[in-house]
């Protein structure tokens, strides 16, 4: 069935005869005996991969297995920042492709993902911080990404509520200004990809948890789930925070430690914050949604855990740091806090592609920077599955790099990027 006509046309039809049921965004199917490809994890990465497998490689006999509802993991818990102003050339090139895909994603998916390229500021509070921002600005410019170092007067113009006066502890010396960076409606990315993958024949199975992976003579033969067994020769692990719990099913250890990342949201306010603001040393980032809420997050928790309960320590810390940057917000109220989990690799760079087990592929190591890579990760892994070759763009992120002592330098700047 061709992708539905203009979504806005469907909106009009809906307006005039609401009796007729609207088309379902994704259908529920019986679990087939066999699929060509099984993708574990119904988040933005898994669904994007299913979409690109169908759209660009005609592979449609695909099952996306999600243990809860689609987008229940990291995809529904992140603070929806999209940017490409990374440190290493490999990182910048990779994320720049992702931003380009995001720029036409609404059109591709026929679903407005509300990508708001409003500009992204990373503040520097020390000389060392300024040098790191300059390093990123220069690498970005050389790699064709719009980023530059700006000084307090321009920072104040872009973000009037920011306190650029001389703080004793956290003076704002400069900022890395990245105009293409911004925020997006993260759930809409999940729903858009799910819709277009479903329309092209992929089966999305919610409330279906993988409990085992069958391997014979070093090759994947099938998976066991809470709704029955599936035969397949290709399994992609796209479970991010839970990546290690899946990979142990094929007796492989990964260089990952799962740590909670918390965030919170305030009551809706009239618009006053037009850019995304991130502070390296204060480990805080903040943006204002189109509905007027401030969405705020910080660095990962101080200790590893799979618990998504959240802590008071996080709320206290982020409130103090946000008021350090925006003293006018002391009367703004927090409405809700939540947490996701991030699997942190040693070099803050993803781990994608082949593993020693034939047919078992991984799309993991996404730390605190996974959502912004969803389109390009899905696209490159779809190409890898279709061609059985690693695309150049993601060659630096192979699992074997740790054994080959060829880590990616993204951790070099050591400041936690968001």
């Amino acid at each position: 069935m061709l992708p539905t006509k203009q979504m806005s046309v469907q909106l009009l039809r809906q307006a005039f005869n609401s009796s007729q049921p609207p088309p379902r965004m994704w259908r529920s199917h019986e679990l087939k005996e066999r699929y060509d490809v099984v993708i574990i994890g119904g988040g933005a990465h898994g669904l994007a991969c299913a979409y690109y497998l169908a759209k660009e490689h005609g592979i449609t006999d695909v099952a996306v297995l999600e243990k809860s509802y689609i987008g229940a993991g990291g995809s529904g818990r992140n603070t929806a920042i999209v940017r490409s102003n990374y440190l290493t050339p490999e990182g910048v090139r990779f994320y720049n492709e992702s931003v380009k895909l995001y720029e036409q994603l609404s059109d591709d998916l026929n679903f407005n993902v509300m990508f708001s390229q409003r500009g992204h500021l990373t503040l520097a509070h020390t000389d060392g911080g300024v040098n790191t921002m300059r390093r990123r600005a220069e690498v970005n410019q050389i790699e064709g990404v719009d980023s530059r170092l700006i000084w307090p007067d321009e920072i104040k113009r872009l973000c009037p509520y920011l306190d650029v006066s001389d703080h004793p502890r956290y003076p704002i010396l400069a900022a890395l200004y990245h105009p293409p960076g911004g925020i997006i409606r993260h759930d809409a990315v999940v729903w858009g990809y799910a819709h277009q993958a479903d329309v092209r024949g992929a089966h999305i199975h919610q409330n279906t948890e993988v409990t085992g992976i069958k391997v014979k003579k070093g090759k994947v033969t099938g998976v066991e789930t809470t709704r029955g067994r599936i035969k397949t020769g290709t399994v992609l692990n796209a479970t991010a925070g839970w990546a290690s719990t899946i990979t142990t099913m094929v007796d492989i250890k990964l260089p990952l430690t799962t740590i909670p990342l918390q965030a919170c949201v305030t009551e809706p306010l009239k618009p006053f914050l037009d850019v995304v603001v991130v502070s390296g040393s204060l480990h805080v980032y903040i943006s204002q949604t189109d509905r007027g809420e401030l969405v705020m997050g910080a660095s990962v928790d101080p200790f590893s855990s799979y618990s998504m309960a959240g802590s008071l320590t996080f709320l206290e810390g982020i409130a103090g740091h946000v008021l350090e940057l925006f003293p006018a917000l002391s009367n703004v109220r927090i409405l809700r806090q939540w947490a996701g989990i991030c699997e942190m690799p040693p070099d803050y760079s993803p781990i994608m592609g082949f593993t020693p087990i034939n047919g078992f592929l991984i799309d993991v190591g996404w730390g605190t920077y996974g959502f912004k890579a969803s389109p390009i990760a899905g696209k490159t892994l779809a190409e890898l599955i279709a061609t059985d070759k690693t695309p150049d763009l993601i060659a630096p992120f192979r699992l074997s790099r740790f054994e080959e002592n060829d880590l990616v330098g993204e951790k070099g700047a050591a400041s936690v990027g968001h």
Binding site: D107, N112, M114, T126, P268, L312, E316, N331, L407, G409
Partner: protein
């Protein structure tokens, strides 16, 4: 007393009543949207406005429909106002203050005539999730549309010049916390206190009593008056010394191991308790029908709050819509106040109603309509009538029986849903109870209990009895820690005050499920039909319960609608996750008093008094320069300078095991370091990454004195403690002396001449060679002297006990006056060390750099048996370096590349390829040249003088590799 003038200004104010919380003797004034209104101390903004007849308080988020009081208990969004520079204030709980400036939010041009409500005309094209289906193409137009969307959305305003308020925090420790001070809460507190426990009792209202403050006791005689239970409970609580009461205090959240957070105005409490009793009561559930959001449609408890607490009657002609005895309570209550109860509309069969007030009301001529419900609230800006009709068991409306009743107040009393966010945060489980149509808590982790309406118990006497026993159970658990048998939730005394599960009455206008986000029942159906069927997907797509009320008013109804549309049971439908905070809390309260630790050296004041520009280095504040860093650097080269290096990490290692430890943690060799000698060393982790560098001196036979970088001091101290406590600590003690000694580096050709004036110690190189340590009295103070060479000049680093710091510093400055001594800061030090090509760990190296690549191969002895990082460094040296840190000099001395710039090489088709980057660079006043350190490919870095290009502002500037130090390459000046 009510004066004539009063009745004009406040038509809805009743005569004084027993139990009201206002002080009628005093009248204060405040403004709402510029109009002045009277109020009494104790009034809330909402009660004062209602007294004056104001009904419309705000406009709804999406359609900008007029909104008035609904819950009057701070849970719904309808009374959100701006007060001064505080946005999103709940008018119904915020006490009035004289001179308050209250303004409506998100209205244009005004609350009365809000043109933004014209969006309703297009509501047909704005169903749930419409923004996902619009403005997809052309992409260019999206920012314009988004701009308008943003300016229509949002509620309160943040003023740019809002002052940072005064906030603080307090930790509390207790045996039992009671969250909620209603009858169940007070009773549980009494039970726990009588069990010998220390009890903290929290209640969000100004006074204890919960719903007893404004409701009619169920089983009393026909003339309702405020319950007699309350005074007894309050009296008992007052007598009990173990109970500390906190009113106006909301318990915001439960966190692991019974860690609670509560807020009272500008103070945040952080409470560690052994057990917690949740007595947070229940929310009254709204009914969904046409125009159910019209001002004048109010919940029964809201009307009773206004009447009994503030003596305000929101409407003279009332229609009561109910499904249980609550409606009849309110009717009797209003009837006794002389209000004209126009009708009681009860959806049940006549025999299902067991209200004790039924006969009284019927005899008083109040019309009763059984098996009826409300179809529509009639009116545009406020209620002027109610359309009702008969319904059959399948909730089908029989159109012929519709009739309209005149009224200006519609009371909704369809039942309650437990307020259990706090209970479920603890991991407590819930189950849907068919009998009372409520989702009730059925299990809680040890030390967590739920009582009263929150657990589903409705009758006051059952609440009191149960809660008292659970209170003593909680105390027992707090005392002994073992789980008492009675942890099962409320037993048989559960009196099934049933909540209606007919949540929605069909109609043809707009029926609101979620007041905050303007979500209608049609939106819910459409969303579920489109595939957003699970309760979590439905919430995220429709944004139901994501507004200011966080589900208090809409969760229960949404679950019923979702179950019905999916044909699931309520239990299968489930609930969304309960998350702190239970009520919104300000950033200021969460931040509390500003506590950002700052470390200063003992002579910090001297620096400020002498014009130092300070900089932040980790937690330290240090002098960056005293006005002219270049001159300061030249001063050290030509004469003598003094720098405060007190933040340097200083560790003492004692014991026979130290030599072997040094062998293991440093990359170079240590065992032949004789007493009095000092050696530079580099520390790596097992990945071979440079962690820290510094010197270590052999002070006397079993004492070593190690320095680390200032920002690395704490981490290295903890890192060393780990190695010592996990197997390598035999015969070693480690003590942090960082702050015991202040350290001043006296550097320059005249440094010896200066120091000789202050000590008898022979400072000549023969007696005190380079890289040696000596004890010496400097200006009568016992110090440690080290001859080091970070700046490249003859220099003596004076480590003196911190109490003598100012004395020694001033003595050195005084002794140096004749030699033209001047203080120098970090900036000058950076120039001096760069002229010597000395690296700074953390600036020239980063979290991936190894010592071999950082050109410190001379400090790495791979023939040592083992040391931290050796296997990785062996591998790196076998496989060859990927990049090398090396010195460079700019071809053009006037071009000083900023640190962080990239080193590039155009490839075949002119694209720039990054081959390295600049870590350090300065203009050297001594050499009149632009010098620096950078990372380069080894093949380029290994050719002394090789040219390469740095990209500066888009242009490629030439630089040349320089292997030798830029200044005194052979280090003669150090050894003078």
């Amino acid at each position: 007393m009510r004066t004539e003038q009063d009745t004009l200004i406040t038509p809805n104010r009743l005569h004084p009543k027993e139990g009201e919380v206002i002080d009628r003797a005093t009248t204060i004034r405040f403004t709402f949207d510029g109009v002045e209104y009277p109020a009494h101390p104790g009034d809330t903004v909402a009660s004062a406005l209602t007294a004056a007849g104001v009904q419309v308080l705000s406009r709804s988020f999406k359609y900008h429909r007029p909104r008035g009081l609904l819950c009057c208990s701070g849970h719904c969004p309808n009374c959100l106002v701006q007060i001064g520079d505080e946005p999103n204030v709940r008018a119904c709980t915020r006490p009035v203050e004289a001179g308050m400036e209250v303004r409506a939010q998100n209205v244009w041009p005004s609350l009365k005539r809000d043109l933004l409500s014209l969006t309703q005309l297009g509501s047909r094209f704005m169903p749930v999730g419409f923004y996902y289906k619009t403005f997809i193409r052309p992409q260019k137009l999206w920012p314009l549309y988004e701009h308008t969307l943003r300016h229509v959305a949002g509620l309160g305003e943040v003023h740019i010049d809002t002052p940072l308020g005064e906030f603080d925090k307090q930790y509390l420790h207790t045996d039992v916390v009671i969250a909620g001070g209603g009858p169940a809460g007070i009773s549980a507190a009494l039970g726990a206190a009588e069990g010998g426990a220390q009890v903290l009792l929290f209640d969000e209202n100004p006074t204890l009593g919960g719903h007893l403050r404004f409701t009619v006791p169920l089983d009393s005689s026909s003339t309702p008056e405020v319950s007699k239970d309350l005074p007894e409970l309050l009296e008992a609580a007052n007598q009990q010394p173990n109970i500390a009461v906190f009113t106006d205090t909301s318990v915001l959240g439960w966190y692991q191991d019974n860690w609670l957070c509560a807020v009272k105005g500008t103070r945040l409490f952080k409470i560690r308790t052994k057990s917690v009793v949740v007595a947070t009561g229940a929310y009254e559930v709204p009914l969904i029908f046409d125009n159910n959001d019209l001002p004048g449609v109010m919940l029964g408890s809201a009307v009773q709050r206004l009447v009994h607490l503030f003596g305000v009657l929101p409407g003279k002609q009332v229609v009561i819509v109910t499904a249980n005895e609550d409606g009849w309570d309110v009717a009797a209550d209003l009837q006794s106040l002389g209000v004209n109860v126009g009708a009681i509309v009860d959806e049940r069969e006549p025999n299902a109603c067991s209200s004790p007030y039924r006969d009284g009301l019927v005899n008083a001529g109040v019309p009763v309509f059984y098996r009826h419900t409300i179809l529509e609230a009639i009116g545009s800006n406020a209620v002027r009538g109610a359309k009702i009709a008969r319904i059959d068991e399948r909730a089908a409306i029989s159109p012929t029986t519709t009739q309209s009743l005149n009224c200006n107040l519609i009371v909704i009393s369809m039942g309650w849903t437990p307020a259990t966010e706090l209970a479920y945060m603890t991991g407590g489980k819930s189950e849907y109870n068919e009998e009372c149509a409520k989702i009730l808590p059925v299990s809680s982790p040890p030390g967590v209990y739920v009582v009263g309406r929150a657990s589903g118990t409705h009758a006051v006497d059952s609440q009191i009895a149960e809660a008292h026993q659970i209170g003593s159970t909680a105390a027992a658990f707090a005392g002994s820690g073992e789980v008492n048998k009675l942890t099962a939730q409320s037993s048989g005394t559960l009196e099934p005050r049933r909540t209606s599960d007919r949540v929605c009455v069909p109609g043809n206008k707009k029926r609101f499920v979620c007041y905050c986000e303007d979500v209608t029942d049609e939106d819910v159906e459409l969303a579920i039909a489109e595939g957003y069927d699970s309760i979590e997907l439905l919430k995220r797509y429709s944004t139901i319960s994501m507004g200011p009320c966080q589900g208090a008013m809409c969760s229960m109804n949404t679950i019923h609608l979702c179950a019905r549309a999916n044909d699931w049971t309520v239990q299968e439908t489930g609930t969304t996750t309960a998350r702190p905070p239970t009520t919104p809390v300000t950033l200021g309260a969460l931040a509390g008093q500003n506590m950002e630790p700052v470390q200063t050296t003992p002579i910090h004041q001297w620096h400020l008094d002498h014009g130092a520009a300070m900089m932040v280095a980790g937690l330290w504040l240090r002098p960056n320069h005293y006005g002219d860093p270049a001159a300061e650097a030249m001063g050290v080269r030509e004469r003598v300078g003094l720098i405060d290096v007190s933040p340097l990490g200083k560790l003492q290692l004692t014991g026979p095991g130290v030599p072997e430890l040094l062998e293991r943690i440093y990359t170079n060799r240590w065992e032949n370091l004789r007493v009095g000698r000092v050696r530079y060393g580099v520390m790596c982790n097992d990945e071979g990454v440079v962690l820290n560098d510094g010197v270590c001196a052999h002070l006397n036979d079993e004492t070593w004195y190690m320095t680390t970088t200032s920002t690395g001091a704490t981490t290295i101290f903890e890192w060393l403690q780990w190695w010592l406590q996990s197997g390598w600590g035999e015969g070693i003690h480690l003590t942090d002396l960082t702050d015991v000694y202040s350290a001043f580096n006296l550097a320059g050709p005249q440094s010896r001449a200066v120091l000789e004036k202050l000590t008898e110690r022979d400072l000549a190189s023969k007696a005190f060679p380079y890289m040696r340590i000596r004890s010496a009295k400097i200006a009568d103070v016992p110090c440690r002297l080290l001859r080091l060479g970070f700046t490249g000049e003859l220099s003596y680093e004076v480590h003196c006990p911190s109490g003598y710091a100012l004395h020694v510093w001033e003595a050195l400055m005084e002794a140096g006056r004749e030699f033209g001594i001047a203080p120098f800061g970090v900036e000058a030090q950076r120039i001096l060390r760069l002229e010597k090509a000395h690296i700074i760990v953390g600036q020239d190296t980063d979290a991936m750099s190894d010592p071999l690549s950082a050109n410190m191969a001379w400090a790495v002895k791979l023939d040592k048996p083992d040391f931290l990082g050796k296997p990785s460094l062996m591998r790196i040296s076998d496989e060859g370096l990927k990049q090398l840190l090396v010195g460079f000099k700019m071809a053009d001395p006037d071009v000083v590349p900023d640190e962080g710039l990239q080193i590039v090489e155009p490839d075949a088709d002119g694209r720039l390829k990054i081959i390295g980057w600049v870590t350090s660079s300065r203009f050297s006043p001594t050499l009149a040249a632009a010098i620096g350190l950078c990372w380069l490919p080894p093949e380029l870095a290994s050719q002394d003088g090789a040219p390469f290009t740095i990209r500066i502002d888009g242009h490629l500037k030439e630089a040349r590799v320089q292997h030798s130090a830029f200044y005194d390459p052979d280090g003669e000046r150090l050894r003078m």
